[in-house]
């Protein structure tokens, strides 16, 4: 019984520390109005919107996972949208993905850099 408990505690502790993630935005314009973090934001994985826009923020999302677990774009999308909303963006463009594996491929490093834009009225 004790062995099972030890194993469970160990697994929980390890799973808590097997992933690190961080996200942030940097404003490219002097002032901005944040939106609620669950706002509706358009995502352009390729191309750009046809409407006129201004680049207002740079968004970075970084996730590192061990135990050979891989990260993909869909995993980081919620964080990407959240940062875009908080920077006041209407849409996200110029999405750049960077995925590398280190430490005998056990650790996957996944980074997204994108630009938040505001449509001009």
């Amino acid at each position: 019984m004790h062995r099972i408990c030890y194993s469970l505690v160990l697994l929980i502790a390890l799973s808590l520390t097997s992933c690190s993630s961080q996200s942030r935005y940097t404003m490219l314009v002097p002032t901005h109005l944040s939106k609620p973090s669950n706002c509706d934001v358009e995502v352009f994985r390729t191309g750009q919107p046809t409407k006129q826009f201004v680049r207002i923020s740079r968004i970075d999302v970084h996730i590192e996972r061990t135990y050979f677990i891989r990260t993909n774009f869909d995993d980081v999308l919620p964080k990407l949208k959240k940062e875009a909303c908080e920077s006041g963006a209407d849409a996200i463009i110029e999405i750049q993905e960077l995925s590398t594996n280190i430490n005998l491929d056990e650790t996957n490093i996944f980074h997204i850099t994108a630009i938040g834009i505001k449509y001009q009225q």
């Binding site: 004790h2 408990c5 030890y6 505690v9 160990l10 502790a13 390890l14 808590l16 520390t17 097997s18 992933c19 690190s20 961080q22 942030r24 940097t26 740079r58 970075d60 970084h62 590192e64 996972r65 061990t66 135990y67 960077l98 280190i102 430490n103 005998l104 056990e106 650790t107 490093i109 980074h111 850099t113």
Partner: protein, 135 residues
């Protein structure tokens, strides 16, 4: 049950210690290894590129001063390795109106050093990419 709690407390304490350990980077020069570059940009522009380069390489920004930027890579836990724990520092010096000198070094902490790496070259590459795209 008491034993389980003790083990859990000890384990979490060890993780907290591992997560909290960091080393202090030393400015390259003399015997101290690191990278040095000159960028034909103002110090403000190079500082922003330095911050971005640290973030892209998974560092949390811990210091952002006029002429110094520092970041720490959070630790994760794996089968073979506990990556993370490195601290990188970027020293800046305004050498002219549009010329900035930058020194980059990475300090590796004593715990889990076999799984850590020197990120200085990767940081320089990212800074160069950012600054070259701003022409």
């Amino acid at each position: 049950m008491k034993i389980v709690l003790t083990v859990a407390t000890l384990l979490l304490s060890c993780i907290a210690i591992l997560a909290g350990c960091s080393a202090t980077p030393v400015k390259p020069g003399g015997s101290q290894q690191g990278e040095f570059r000159e960028f034909p940009k103002s110090v403000d522009v190079v500082r922003q590129a330095a911050v971005n380069a640290l973030v892209v390489n998974g560092f949390e920004i811990t210091k952002s001063e006029s002429f110094y930027v520092e970041g720490y890579r959070p630790r994760t836990w794996g089968f073979f390795c506990t990556p993370g724990g490195e601290t990188s520092g970027i020293w800046l010096e305004q050498a002219g109106p549009s010329l900035t000198k930058a020194w980059i070094s990475t300090a590796i902490s004593s715990l889990g050093m076999l799984c850590q790496k020197d990120w200085s070259a990767a940081i320089v590459t990212e800074m160069e990419n950012t600054l070259n795209s701003q022409k």
